[in-house]
């Protein structure tokens, strides 16, 4: 992990905050109390607020009782009691299935899957139960109070089973929302929105950033709207679209490109399903070029969906083919992780070849 991090971000500059660009989350006023927080602490604060503001909310999952393996649930059981914050047996389909039933009775069930790599046993519950609960009942029942949190993505030493980015599987499922934050401030606001959204949400947390990313986070209760992308860096030559931890890498590429006279616009999609096509479309119509980058394997990745949509909508405005800089079509490798990753320089090369097409 250390080596990978040093490669990318010895000093981790978070996109959207380091350059004073506008934060959509900002309910800022002069008296707003902010605190420097890392990402897991911001998640923890959101969970505190969620439990505090709704007595019908519950937080549970494997090892959640003692604070969770990533410390996101620290202090919750002590504060809100073991009836509302608790360990579950080690069984993902049970965790999600239980959460669906709890949510269907009018509660908010915030469940933790310890790693996104282990979410697959719950796939049936998510796809066939959670996603269809409202539709199949004609809106007689819903499990909209369900939020599934899962740490995803590379950490430098995670190998096959602690590194995956499975978001694309879930983006193929009508009825759920898929949300991925890029920073502590975003994580808090988006998680509170996800928990309070009347639809089931799969919320992937970039575990690479849990400790590494530190940002000023307002202490109060605030929400960031779902399905609204944000332009976190304005530019005129090419549009870059990403989400989660990858934005940090993309931001570095944008900075390097700028030194070579290329002006990049960087968009944080935030919500992948249902996604904000309009913001991306408007940007590409302005820049004429699009690059998408994600850690997940390129084939069938969500980048393909964005690419196809933008081709449909912006065909005559495009100056170059849409470029994708993504993970490779191998299982996530351990020793070879530095080769697998969509690194800054891979992105920079793609920016240059797209602009010079």
């Amino acid at each position: 992990m250390a080596s990978l991090l040093s490669r990318f971000c010895r000093k981790l500059a978070l996109p959207g905050s380091a350059h004073g660009s506008r934060m959509t989350s900002s309910t800022a006023c002069g008296s707003e109390t902010v605190k420097s927080l890392n990402l897991y602490s911001a998640i923890n604060q959101a969970l505190h607020i969620a439990l505090e503001t709704d007595p019908r909310s519950y937080v549970f999952g494997e090892d959640v009782g003692f604070g969770g393996v990533f410390r996101c649930t620290t202090g919750l059981a002590e504060r809100f009691g073991k009836n509302r914050v608790f360990n579950t047996p080690l069984c993902e389909q049970g965790i999600v299935g239980f959460g669906i039933g709890l949510a269907a009775m009018g509660n908010r069930a915030v469940v933790e899957i310890q790693f996104a790599d282990y979410i697959y046993p719950a796939f049936d519950q998510i796809v066939n139960e959670a996603a269809k609960f409202r539709y199949r009942s004609g809106n007689q029942f819903n499990c909209g109070g369900l939020t599934i949190r899962a740490p995803y993505g590379a950490v430098g030493h995670g190998g096959h089973y602690h590194s995956q980015s499975p978001e694309a599987f879930f983006c193929h499922v009508p009825g759920i929302k898929v949300v991925i934050p890029r920073s502590p401030r975003e994580a808090k606001g988006l998680l509170l929105s996800s928990i309070r959204d009347p639809n089931p949400v799969v919320f992937f947390e970039p575990k690479w950033l849990y400790r590494q990313a530190v940002e000023e986070v307002p202490e109060h209760d605030y929400m960031i709207p779902l399905s609204q992308a944000e332009i976190i860096r304005e530019g005129s030559d090419i549009t870059l679209v990403g989400w989660g931890a990858q934005l940090t890498v993309m931001e570095q590429a944008c900075l390097d490109a700028e030194k070579e006279g290329i002006s990049c616009e960087l968009i944080d999609l935030k919500t992948l399903l249902p996604w904000d096509k309009e913001t991306v479309e408007a940007s590409v119509k302005k820049t004429g070029r699009l690059l998408i980058s994600h850690e997940a394997p390129i084939t069938g990745g969500f980048g393909a969906e964005i690419s196809a949509t933008i081709l449909e909508r912006c065909f005559l405005k495009l100056e170059a083919p849409v470029s994708r800089v993504c993970g490779l079509d191998t299982p996530f490798p351990l020793v070879f992780e530095p080769f697998y990753m969509p690194t800054k320089n891979k992105i920079l090369d793609a920016i240059k070849s797209t602009v010079n097409y």
Binding site: N83, T88, P89, C91, Q93, G94, V96, G97, F98, G99, I100, G101, L102, A103, A104, M105, G106, N107, A109, P121, D124, Q125, N128, E129, K132, F133, R134, Y135, R136, S137, G138, N139, Q140, F141, N142, G144, P174, G175, K177, P198, N199, S227, P274, K277, E278
Partner: protein, 467 residues
């Protein structure tokens, strides 16, 4: 590798013999006892390269350190104290006798002497019997409608009328049901009308599911009956979560979930049972063990003594019931419900029955089981005739009541089908509503595209769906 296994097996067996003898003075040979002055037999004190043997040596050492009082030795493992035994004795894979099946009525509907059961009033008993008849007649008529091509699909509950109706009768309307798809009788008991059943089966605009699911996928918010999904056993963990909510809210109610013998093989069964026990959730797991999962007999499904024995491994109180005995089902569910709510615990009920009908209208079960077998169950263990005998023996039912009921239900059913069939289909906009609480942009765009396609090619689309 195979050879290694063989040699270690023989060493292991030697150790077995020695330690068995060591731990069981009554069965030990004098020769072996003679060889045991302070510790284990010298022959197995040698350090073996085989890890299994080494483990056994260690066990023997530990045991021998106080062999006077071996059985009272306990160790505080995580999870509680566990006593030691000097015997290498595996828990048997089965009980010597199969778990007995609780029943009140014999095959002919006569009350068994000394049978325990919860008293049933005349009113309840008559409604139970009437609803069992109604369920069977509803199945007959919908089944025929499907054969005539008027319904796309149907699945009957033939043979399982007692499980359906008697369990519903023993519950409170506040108990929430997570059904599979062969329990429409619970809805019937709670007041779902034949018209409401027909609306769902025909997928018309009065169907609460808005025409989105195949026939028999009923659901009713008003009647606390969660909408059926065709996936097997996924409803079980959902029921546990709902039960936990009822407990947290201090409600005098439990969650009840139904599934089949096949469903007990799914991972969700395991997940739900384990969660329910750990979370101390008031939930009833009612397994309809009808012998067949489509064409798969229980002998190809599991090697356990059915499903009832699985409860114990999870720490769940369990009972096996004659599912074709309405009085037994009623009593067992009634008692289970009381325990679940009062003691905050799950209960497993295995109801033994027989699927007299085909799996569904897409199945011909005579291809994998004999017509004689089906007929035997239909006659010899018929849940309706058995219960009718008992109700009649109380003087609560007569041939005249029977024929009145049957002619009334037949008339109502035919009318329900007639109305449901001519009621228009749900509007096209219901294809896009309820995916989310409000349709997002992509669905609004797709609705427009579909409407344009209909304008261009109206002949491609059914004309009975209002636009």
């Amino acid at each position: 590798m195979a050879q290694h296994l063989k040699s270690s097996k023989s060493t292991f067996l030697n150790v077995l013999r020695h330690s068995l003898a060591f731990g069981s003075p009554s069965h030990a040979s004098p020769h072996l006892r003679h060889n045991l002055p302070h510790g284990g037999p010298p022959s197995i004190k040698k350090v073996s390269p085989n890890p299994l043997t080494r483990l056994c040596n260690t066990m023997v050492d530990t045991l021998s350190s106080s062999h006077e009082d071996t059985n009272s030795q306990v160790m505080d493992f995580p999870g509680g104290k566990v006593s030691f035994t000097p015997e290498i004795r595996f828990i048997s894979e089965s009980n010597e006798e199969r778990v007995p099946c609780y029943r009140v009525l014999d095959d002919n509907g006569q009350q068994l002497p000394n049978s325990q059961f919860v008293p049933v009033s005349k009113e309840i008993a008559v409604k139970m019997y009437s609803d069992m008849v109604t369920l069977q007649m509803m199945d007959n008529i919908f089944y025929e409608a499907q054969r005539q091509g008027r319904l796309s699909f149907y699945a009957t509950a033939y043979g399982e009328e007692a499980i359906n109706i008697a369990s519903a009768a023993a519950l409170s309307p506040d108990d929430v049901i997570f059904p599979q798809y062969r329990e429409p009788g619970v809805l019937l008991w709670r007041g779902f009308t034949l018209q409401e059943f027909a609306n769902q089966c025909f997928g018309n605009k009065s169907d609460y599911g808005k025409g989105r699911q195949m026939p028999v996928h009923y659901g009713s918010n008003k009647l606390n009956y969660f909408t059926v999904s065709a996936t097997i056993a996924t409803q079980l963990p959902n029921a546990v979560g709902a039960a936990y909510s009822l407990k947290m809210d201090g409600k005098d109610a439990c969650a009840v979930t139904f599934f089949g013998d096949g469903g007990s093989s799914e991972g969700d069964f395991h997940a739900a049972m384990n969660f329910a026990a750990v979370m101390e959730a008031p939930v009833l797991f009612i397994c309809r063990n009808n012998g067949w999962a489509i064409s798969t007999p229980t002998s190809d499904q599991f090697r356990s003594d059915g499903v009832v024995v699985k409860g114990r491994a999870y720490g769940i109180r369990s009972i096996r019931v004659d599912g074709n005995d309405a009085l037994a089902m009623y009593s067992a569910v009634h008692e289970a419900r009381e325990m679940a709510i009062r003691e905050h615990r799950p209960i497993l009920i295995e109801a033994l029955t027989y699927r007299v009908g085909h799996h569904s209208t897409s199945d011909d079960s005579t291809r994998y089981r004999s017509a004689d077998e089906i007929e035997w169950w239909n006659k010899a263990r018929n849940p309706l005739s058995r219960f009718r005998t008992w109700v009649e023996s109380n003087g609560w039912w007569s041939d005249e009541a029977e024929s009145d009921l049957r002619s009334r239900i037949k008339k109502e059913m035919l009318e329900a089908i007639r109305v449901a069939e001519k009621t228009e289909k749900p509007n096209l906009n219901h294809m896009f509503s309820d995916v989310y609480d409000v349709p997002p942009l992509n669905l609004r765009e797709q609705e427009l595209l579909v409407r344009q396609a209909i304008k261009s090619h109206p002949q491609d689309y059914p004309s009975d769906v209002p636009l």
